[in-house]
Each structure stands twice: as structure tokens, then as C-alpha cells.
């Protein structure tokens, strides 16, 4: 009897401790999400604020009949694949290089990880000026080194523009993987390497049989997170090109922002948002299925 009262008190205590957090999350996350989903099926524009109608799938029909949507969708695939692949490989390499202590490692790490601390949008604007075809510092340096005679149209040639925004995103995202993987690497006990050495393992064998299996949970979870973040990361593109020229650097997220800014059609933008959420949910479920929670916990 006494035990059940204590148990009830504990349950009450836990409930009231969690209550404020759940309330805030519900107000700030779940309510806007549900409202956003409903918005996608309404006609909510600047011109219809006073007479909002339910329009069913009309917003989705409009989006699917817009060729620019499919350009943005295809760009999103490339944007994620190339950005995450290069960020991961280069971040991994950087983490391996910084694993062993050397003089000034802390300062070096600070410099390398610095971009991660800055606003993506501000960096986008900064890079748009660095890569400016007329007045850009990078073109200026290349010309002074006599490597080129005319400025390269980094951001005005659609092909170069897309490569440029991806390159900047790779540069920006390397520290994330480097930090996460470095932390995981530093947690590997030396005894494992020593045991592997006794068994006659070389560097390559140690990497594949000790390092990689040990950090696998970190790699799996960071890749999952990073794909979601990169898909929802319009900052750099918006700062550099706003999705242009002619929509050639649009990803779904910038396509959605442009609908809000230039068309003031909040319902259509919500419909794009819903499509993004659907894609990410499908991706997360598939990804988690192939990399089961058992494997995530397995060391």
C-alpha cells in the first residue's frame, strides 16, 4: 500500500516535470505542423486572407504542373547526394588526421571548425561576393596568377552556379562530420588496437576491423541527420543565388521560400513543405529499416 502511494507520487512528479516541456513542444512544434498541413489544403494567399476556402488537392495539382518543381526536386537529390558524400569523406579524413595529438591541434581545430559556428545565410552572401564574376576576390586572384584571362561566371552560368553552391555547402559541412567522427574515434580504447596488433593486423585491417565497426553507430546516425539537415538547408543557396539563375540552383526548400516571398501564397508553400516532410519521413523509415536499431547499438 505504502509502496503504491510512493509509486503514484513518483509518477505524478515525473508527469509535472515533463508537462512544461511537452506543452512548449506541443505549442511550438506540433500545433504549427498540424496548422501547416491544413494550410496546404486551403487557399491562403495575401489576397484571400479574409475568405479562406478549403480547396482540396488544388495546391498540389498546381505544384505538380509546374516544371520548375521537378527541376527543384531533381536538384535536391543532387544537392543532398554530392554535399553529404563529400562532407562525409572529407570530414572523416580530417578527423583521422586530427586524431593523434600534435602541437597546436586545439588552435588548428578551432580554425577548421569555425565555419560551422557561422550563419549559413551570412556565409552564402559572403561567398556570393567572393565568387562574383566581375568584382569577386577569387576571380581576381586567379587573374593575378595568370591562370585565367576573364572572370569565371561562377554564379551566372547555371552549371557552374550549382557546382559552386554545392562546393560551399561541402566546405561548410565538413566540420560537422569531423567533430562527430573525431569524438567517436577518441572514444575507441587503445587496448583494441593493441589487441589487433598482437593478432598481426596492419593499418588497413585495423581501420576496417576496429575503427569502422566501433564508430558505425555515430556514422549511421550522423548520416541520417545530415541528409535531413541538408535537405532542409536553403541558407547557403538563398544567400548565394536565391535559387537562380532561372531556377537552376533551386532545391525544394528555396523553391518553397520563393513561393512565400514572391507569390505570398502560403498554402502553396505549405503544400511544398508537406511534400518535403513526406520525402524525409519515407527516407528516415527506409534508412532505419536498413540500419536497424540493433546495429546502431552494436559495437
Amino acid at each position: 500500500m505504502k509502496r503504491s502511494k510512493a509509486h503514484r507520487n513518483l509518477k505524478n512528479f515525473i508527469f509535472w516535470m515533463l508537462f512544461p516541456t511537452f506543452t512548449i513542444v506541443a505549442i511550438l512544434t506540433y500545433y504549427p505542423t498540424i496548422k501547416g498541413i491544413l494550410l496546404a489544403f486551403e487557399d491562403y494567399t495575401v489576397f484571400t486572407f479574409q475568405n479562406i476556402q478549403f480547396v482540396g488537392w488544388q495546391n498540389f495539382e498546381t505544384i505538380f504542373s509546374d516544371p520548375n518543381f521537378f527541376i527543384a526536386l531533381w536538384n535536391t537529390v543532387w544537392w543532398i547526394a554530392l554535399s553529404v558524400a563529400f562532407q562525409f569523406v572529407l570530414g572523416f579524413a580530417l578527423a583521422l588526421l586530427m586524431r593523434k595529438p600534435f602541437r597546436g591541434r586545439g588552435v588548428y581545430a578551432g580554425i577548421v571548425f569555425y565555419p560551422w559556428a557561422l550563419s549559413g545565410f551570412a556565409l552564402g552572401i559572403l561567398w556570393s561576393w567572393l565568387l562574383n564574376g566581375q568584382f569577386g576576390l577569387i576571380n581576381d586572384i586567379l587573374m593575378k596568377l595568370h591562370l585565367i584571362h576573364h572572370g569565371i561566371d561562377f554564379l551566372s552560368n547555371p552549371s557552374y552556379a550549382f557546382i559552386s553552391v554545392i562546393a560551399v555547402n561541402v566546405w561548410y559541412g565538413i566540420p560537422f562530420f569531423a567533430i562527430m567522427i573525431l569524438a567517436a574515434l577518441q572514444s575507441i580504447p587503445n587496448s583494441l588496437y593493441e589487441a589487433a596488433e598482437i593478432d598481426g593486423a596492419g593499418s588497413v585491417s585495423k581501420f576496417f576491423n576496429v575503427t569502422l565497426p566501433y564508430i558505425k553507430p555515430t556514422v549511421v546516425s550522423t548520416l541520417l541527420l545530415r541528409v535531413i539537415w541538408v535537405m532542409n538547408f536553403p541558407d547557403i543557396i538563398y544567400g548565394m543565388t536565391k535559387g537562380g539563375p532561372a531556377g537552376s540552383t533551386n532545391i525544394l526548400a528555396t523553391y518553397m521560400i520563393n513561393i512565400v516571398y514572391f507569390e505570398s501564397d502560403y498554402s502553396k508553400a505549405s503544400a511544398v513543405g508537406l511534400i518535403i516532410i513526406s520525402i524525409l519521413t519515407a527516407y528516415a523509415l527506409t534508412y532505419l529499416k536498413f540500419t536497424s536499431s540493433y546495429e546502431l547499438g552494436e559495437i
Binding site: T45, S156, P245
Partner: protein
Amino acid sequence: MKVKILVVFSVLVIALFAMSFAANTVTLNMIQVFTSPQRTHVLETIIKEFEALHPNVHINLISPPYESAYQKVYLMLSTNQPLDIVEVGDWSLEGVVQLGKMENLEPYIAKWSGAKDLIPGLLKAVRVTGGKAYIIPNGVYAKALFYRPDILAKFGITQPPATMKELYNDCLKITNPTKNQYGFDFRGTGLPTNFIDIITTSYLNDIDPSNMYKLKNGKLWFKDPRALEGLKLYLNFYKNTAPKDSINWGFDAQVNAFVAGTTPFLFQDPDTTGLLNSMLKKGQYKTAPLPVGPSGKVYPSYGFGGWGIPNYSKHKELAWEFIKFFTTPMISAYFCKEYGALPVLKSVYEDDPYFSSGVFEGWKKMFSDPQKYVFTSYPLANPAWTRWTKYQQDTMQQALLGRITLDQLTTKWYNFWKKAFGM
């Protein structure tokens, strides 16, 4: 002990005094949409003057970044956030009024003697929604030709071009990519509607002054062969006289290129003078009327921004006091000189020679010849307008990049407005 009591008593008196002062002070919340550091400084100076005349009034100026300013305005108005004075530009006026949160200013205007001093046609231009005025303009904008005499002199060009053909030929003469010298300060992004339309429509002599996209016979002009010629010229300006990078140029990049001398011919609004005056020496730039096309005409448009009052404001009378104060000759002249807009009051043009000479010469000449320089309105009240400017920019960029032909471009535009006008 006595000292302690005295200190506590003094603090209480000061606190009570401060509280009573605060209780009597009325705070007006005011939002601007064309934010820039220079403009914010000018507005703050005017606000200080107003506050000096009204000691119990404090104005809290909200200055959101230009790019997201209207989102802020929409959000504040639709959620009834404390706001007493709101700035709205012509292109967004219909959308903001449609929120149903703006005060109809007609009863205020009826009792305002200063209304008679507004330049002719301005109130008519402001009455976009249902023939009612919801803002009082604080500045007028219209494109003119800016040019750099110092750069042009090096190429033997001593007079600004009077026609589009002359402008194109001058630009061709100057352009030398190996020396990073170009002619035309092209605008590829940042909603280049005015730039495209000024050049294209200059080939037509029968544009409806009440609708930039219709002819006087009521038809759309997009499939007219003359318009196609105008668009060809626009494309040639980009291909042959402007840097390839200018497809990405908005206002900032245009001003940079003009100041650097890379492109000495620029179409811009009078607010550019405020910036140029701080970046170039006197005489380094001048303005001239927009060049006319083969039609002998050119069709600029009036742009304007202005102050309005939310209908839920608790201080409407004070807000109106501020708007009237802003529209007095002295303040209007100060604002326009510092910021660079054209004044909204007749008396400012008559009494202040600054606005009819020097860098304002281009506009003076344009205003004096309405047959040649036909000021034309955009269909701002059409719900399609908010989509049009970005759509026009994106499709134009596709044509500039050679992804679509001019014929495909004009078909897209024709279909857009045919549907929008319900034709």
C-alpha cells in the same frame, strides 16, 4: 540613519516621477519597409523632430530587413500586433489592404489642407483599392538614365543618348570585355520588371497609360511583332554590352558596377542619388531622360511608398499627426534630399531649386514632356501581380540563357496575363 532614510526617500521620489512620466508617454509603433542604414538614420532624425514638438510621444521605429519586411508587415497586421504607422510600397499596397487591417484615410484627407499641395495625380495613383486612399505617399520614384560623363568622355561620348538605338550603339562602342569595360548596367534579378518593360514597350506607340500590358485597343501586346523587336534589343543589351554575370545583378551589384565605372549607363530611381552622392564626387554622374524607342515614346511608371494607419491602432489621431508632419514641405524636402526620392509636394519643387537642377535634371525634363514620356500604371490590383514579377524574372532569365526562345517567352507572358485578366 537619517541619511539612509533620505536616500530611500529620494529614490522613491525619482521612481515615482519616472513612472508618472512613463505613464503619460504615448508610444507609437512605426514600421518601415525600404530599410537601409542611411534611410533609418534619416527617419530617426525626423522622428526626433516630431518628438521634440510632442514631448509626450515616443516613436518606436521598426526596421526589418528589406527582403523580409512585408512578411513582417503581414504578420504584425494579421495578428493585430501593436502598430500605429505602417509603410507600404505601391507594388504591395493591394495585398496589404486586402488584409482588411488598414484605415481608410479618405475622411482624414477631406479635413487636411495639406492635401491640396500633393503633386497632381498622386492621390489618384494611390487609390488602388476601391478608389480609396490607404496611405499618404512619402516619396515618388521613377526611372531615369544615370550616366558617367567622366567614363564616357574617354570614348568621345559627350551627350547622353536620346534614343534606345543611340544608347545601344554607345554601349557597343564602349564594351571591351578584355578591359572589363561594358556599357549597360543590366539588371538580371531583384525583380527587373521596370527594366524589361521600359525597353520593350518603347517600340510601341499605343500603350494604354492605365495598364502597362495592354494596348489602347484593349489587346495584350506580348504577341505584337513590335514588342518582339523591343525584346530582341533587351536581349542584345545583355549579350553584347553587359557582363554575363549581370544576369545575377540586383540593385546593389548595379550600383557597384556604376560606381566602379564598369557600366556607365544605368536606369534607376531617384533614391539611387542618395547612395551615389556619398560614393562619387560631384559631377561624376548625371541624369538624363530615359531614351525613347522607335515609337518616339517611352513608358516609365510612377512608384511610390507611403505611410498608413492600421484600423485597430489605439492612437490613430497621433499617427495621423505624424503623417501630416512628415508631409510638410520642410520635412518632405529633407527626407527626399537625404534619401533621394522625388518630393510629393508641389511647393517643394517650386521653392527648392535643388529638385529641378543638378542630378534631378533628368526627371525635370521627363515631367515636362508628357507626350514623349508617358507615365503608365501597372495592374497592381490584379491578384496575379504578386506572382508576375518573379515569373517574369525567371522566364526572362531562361531566355537570356538561351533555354527558351523569345517566341516561347512571349507566349508564356501572353498566356499568364490572358488568364489573369480573364480575357
